[in-house]
Symmetry: C2
């Protein structure tokens, strides 16, 4: 056991000894991190260790990976594991493998090593202490065996840092209690699903389904348990909790995120933002603190647009943008939204919904915590990022029409190849977006319908999705790509149709609120990284009514989301709660 | 009425007067063509007129198109058509339109004019004198209304030249009798189809089907009618006719093409080569001429590989390459080739098939006439072309695997976009082939499976087809494209698999035989144009056994083939018969 203060006071050699075993057989990492003393926070120490590995370069990183034992491998059998590895593999139940499981792991280990040249590495201990089960470990090994080597290399380093983080917490005897409560509550919410999670192992919670109603009830109970002064369900099913300020007429800080999910979803998308705020308010209540402003936490009932052909139903009610026509929309089973609301006990009238509109005069602004749903923070090894803007987007679908002809008899200079024109279009989109900071352009649909190996493509279906931090930047990229396409079509003698299917304005973060999040991240001893949000969020809707800014939390495995593989660690959730609390303190001081 | 000799002797002004009306309201064409006097042949005169139009440039060509009346248009109603147009429109039955047909044509004419800016032009008189029916004219107008303007412009000029050709034949009172017999016989063969042509309007004749047997019987009768000394059906269903030479032991010239078709085929693919040779032998017989060599005409029973998973069954028997395993292949109905042969009365034994192998010592070589099945001759306005080589080909199918990710949250520099990699591959194939004369490379299959507008493509299916006039050139192009793909995959961090599916060696024409075809074309007063064959032909198989060379005949509408729109004119067929006869004469003189 040691302390951060002790670590800050030691020599390099002692430092290395104190951190022995945090990184498997690799004392050079601690030795390099020592230069960055003193560490203001545990997060700063972990960041220094991560930076040491990044600075070490590819060869040292490969050696670090190779310093790890195989899971359930020869070293385990021979009893030559490090103490840390031995404990971890034992707690993961690997020492109790059946002969079949053991044989499977051996076979997969061998294949993995042959493919990548280093052993498979996974943090077998998870936030609940229980960690991964044997079958989960085997499934992960099987899945990652198919990864691209570069991707797998990065994933192994991420796992190494995660293992180090868990080992370090034990050495310093400091556990992420608040982050773990956030994590446990996300697990508890995930038991509600349609069909039940236990039945299919998939998490799906769509608007006003029984699972959705169960989530609402549990969230309301937690809000009361955590000390919110009032909790109500509003006219569209949002769960609204208010933690009053020091005075009855105090202005309000609005926060929240959504509790519905996509089909076969992850457990943190949306919910993390509710649970982090919940935990921060619980801390205020525990301390008996009242701030010069009230906190209104809204668990939005709907954001994902899964059951009905409309999105942001929950936040739209707060901004007065709930479209009356939505009530008449029917789901796949023919149930209208109005009937679904009535069945849920909601008033299902536009009067009631319109009354939910917030008066911006009573609000300071809106803040939202959300998982990144992208790879940026994971690749930069940063737990938190500050959102500069929710990107504006435009989408098109369409087709390029050339002339189908014989692949053998049509000379290259006499072709009207729809696929070749589409290929230029794909690369033009890529090039135009790459030239503008934080802009993205994607051709996600690309298909020569009924394509034959020996026919010059006469048609090619295409799509285009363009996003950027401002509407002007978005339109500049989009216009350039469309102009490129027109030029390509003209030059190649093909026709092209592109039909707009969507347009959403950018929601740049309010500078003052962006600055507050940045200060909160800096206060944790972490570097401040700004990034745009490529996905839409409830904050995009609230943007119409009041200043807003978002905080992103790193996701696991390249930030995968809308997928059961979506993960957030308890340590990162802890940092998100701390950042949220810091923002509240700061705002109270202003 | 005039004659070629008279035309060659006139002044420019008289020439223009004599050719008045050949090109609608456009005396400048005849005036320009006059410079090319004297014309050795009618073909040379027509070529000079075509060249005058080509040299006139786009504006003059557009004026030429605009000088044409609308079909069944105001000029017809008002009686202000030229004598030529009036007769043509009347004979096409346009003056007898029902009110509904008239309204439809008016509406389509207006839409056509609005889209292209010139009137719809089609040669309404066809080879049989009867020409297009009203419903065929309306269908053609509807179809061409959807064409690309550049394609339609070229097609209208082609129709203008065809109209001029027909008008010129009347002025000179010279009809393409031999070409028309070729054309009529192709029509007669097309009445046999599975199901019958009359039932579905589609031509399909697969190996040993009842329609196929009917074709064989009719071909055999024609061979006898035309004066072949012996006609037999061989062990695989080829119809073999021999026109003996001046002496019993004379060497043989082998010629022929196939009489099976693809599904929903054109009428000239394969059959043209049989019918042209038939007509040339008929002429010899009519004159009572015997040459120093015998002519063996083989109507190959199978080339297209439609019923069984094997191609070139007919010619393979002649070269000893008929694979015994083919006999056990079953068609879609489960009927083996052996059983199909037995049902057709063929011996169905490998002994009988192997006995069909020809001894090359008895043969001078193999020549084959075939429609081009490509756009080159049509675009160059040349009726005939000499094949330099049947291209060697290689094919692959495969997949690029990147990483599917969120189109909004994945920055451009962190993507592993399978479609973007495929796009570079498509353009690399195009660029590499364009750099090598007569080489082609095609990515005919291009598909992001289940692509979504907002997902960076994780997979993209691709194919590659490379062909060139020599195996070395083919492999150079293919190797360069594959190296490009490896570089693209490496740079973009994506995986790529390409599996070879086919490889066929090039069959360059024998120089002496190529020279004979060139001399034959030149003797017609036509420019000699060499081009490779991108498609496979029976000559490719015979190439293994003896020298070979092919003559290509221009197809209509960009050379479309394997399609009911495939056409050959009676005038072009006449030239093919003349070229074939010239080649025989020449060979006789050698």
């Amino acid at each position: 056991m040691t302390t951060l203060a002790a670590l800050n006071a030691t020599s390099r050699d002692e430092f290395v000894v104190l951190l022995d075993g945090v990184y498997e057989h690799s004392p050079w990492i601690a030795a390099a991190a020592w230069d960055a003393r003193p560490f203001a926070t545990l997060a700063a120490l972990k960041h220094a260790l991560v930076q040491a590995v990044r600075a070490g370069g590819r060869d040292a990183q490969l050696a670090l990976l190779r310093a790890h034992p195989e899971l359930a491998g020869k070293a385990m059998v021979a009893g030559t594991l490090t103490a840390e590895s031995s404990g971890e593999q034992q707690r993961a139940g690997l020492t109790a493998c059946t002969p079949e499981e053991f044989a499977t792991i051996q076979r997969l280990n061998a294949a993995y090593n042959a493919r990548f040249g280093w052993p498979f590495i996974v943090a077998v201990r998870g936030p609940r202490g229980s960690g991964l089960t044997r079958s989960e470990i085997i499934a992960t090994l099987q899945r990652r065996l198919a990864s691209h080597p570069d991707v797998e290399f990065a994933e192994c380093l991420r796992q190494v840092h995660r293992i180090a983080e868990i080992r370090l917490a034990e050495k310093l005897d400091t556990q992420p209690h608040r982050g773990r409560r956030v994590w446990d509550r996300a697990e508890a919410l995930a038991t509600f699903s349609e069909p039940p999670y236990a039945e299919r192992g998939e998490l799906t919670v769509t608007y006003l389904s029984p699972a959705h109603r169960d989530c609402a009830r549990l969230l309301a109970r937690w809000m009361l348990d955590c000390g919110f002064d009032s909790v109500r369900e509003d006219a569209v099913g949002n769960v609204v909790g208010v933690y009053e300020g020091a005075t009855p007429d105090a202005p309000r800080l609005l926060t929240g995120s959504h509790y519905d999910t996509v089909r076969n979803a992850g457990r943190h998308d949306g919910r993390l933002g509710i649970l982090v705020a919940l935990e921060a308010v619980a801390a205020l209540k525990a301390e008996g603190r009242r701030l010069p402003f009230a906190i209104e936490l809204v668990a939005f009932a709907e954001e994902e647009g899964q059951r009905y052909a409309a999105t942001f139903l929950g936040s739209s009610a707060l901004t007065g943008d709930f479209d009356p026509a939505w009530l008449d929309q029917a789901d796949a089973a023919g149930i209208t939204m109005r009937d679904a609301m009535r069945a849920a006990g909601l008033p299902a009238t536009m009067d009631a919904i319109a009354a939910e509109r917030r008066d911006p005069a009573h609000y300071l602004g809106f803040v939202e915590v959300h998982i990144e749903q992208g790879p940026v923070l994971a690749e930069l090894d940063l737990p938190l990022g500050v959102v500069s803007s929710i990107n504006g987007s435009r989408r098109w679908t369409g087709q390029i029409t050339g002339l189908a002809s014989h692949a053998g008899t049509t000379p290259m200079d006499r072709r009207r190849d729809a696929a070749a024109a589409a290929a230029e279009f794909v690369l033009a989109a890529e090039r135009r977006a790459a030239a503008v900071p934080d802009a993205v352009a994607t051709v996600g649909m690309l298909e020569v319908p009924g394509g034959s190996i020996n026919v010059v493509p006469g048609r090619c279906r295409i799509s285009l999705d363009v996003r950027a931090t401002s509407d002007a930047a978005r339109d500049a990229v989009a216009d350039a790509v469309l102009a490129d396409l027109a030029e390509i079509a003209q030059r190649r003698g093909v026709d092209c149709t592109l039909t707009p299917t969507m347009q959403a304005p950018a929601a740049p973060s309010a500078p003052a609120w962006l600055a507050r999040w940045e200060a909160a991240v800096a206060a944790l001893g972490l570097p401040v990284h700004r990034l745009p949000s490529g996905a839409g969020h409830d904050a995009m809707t609230l943007h119409r009514l009041m200043p807003q800014a978002m905080l992103f939390v790193r996701g696991g495995e390249l930030g995968i989301s809308h997928n059961p593989l979506e993960t957030v660690t308890d340590d990162d959730a802890e940092l998100a709660v701390a950042a949220f609390a810091t923002l509240l303190d700061q705002l109270a001081r202003e």
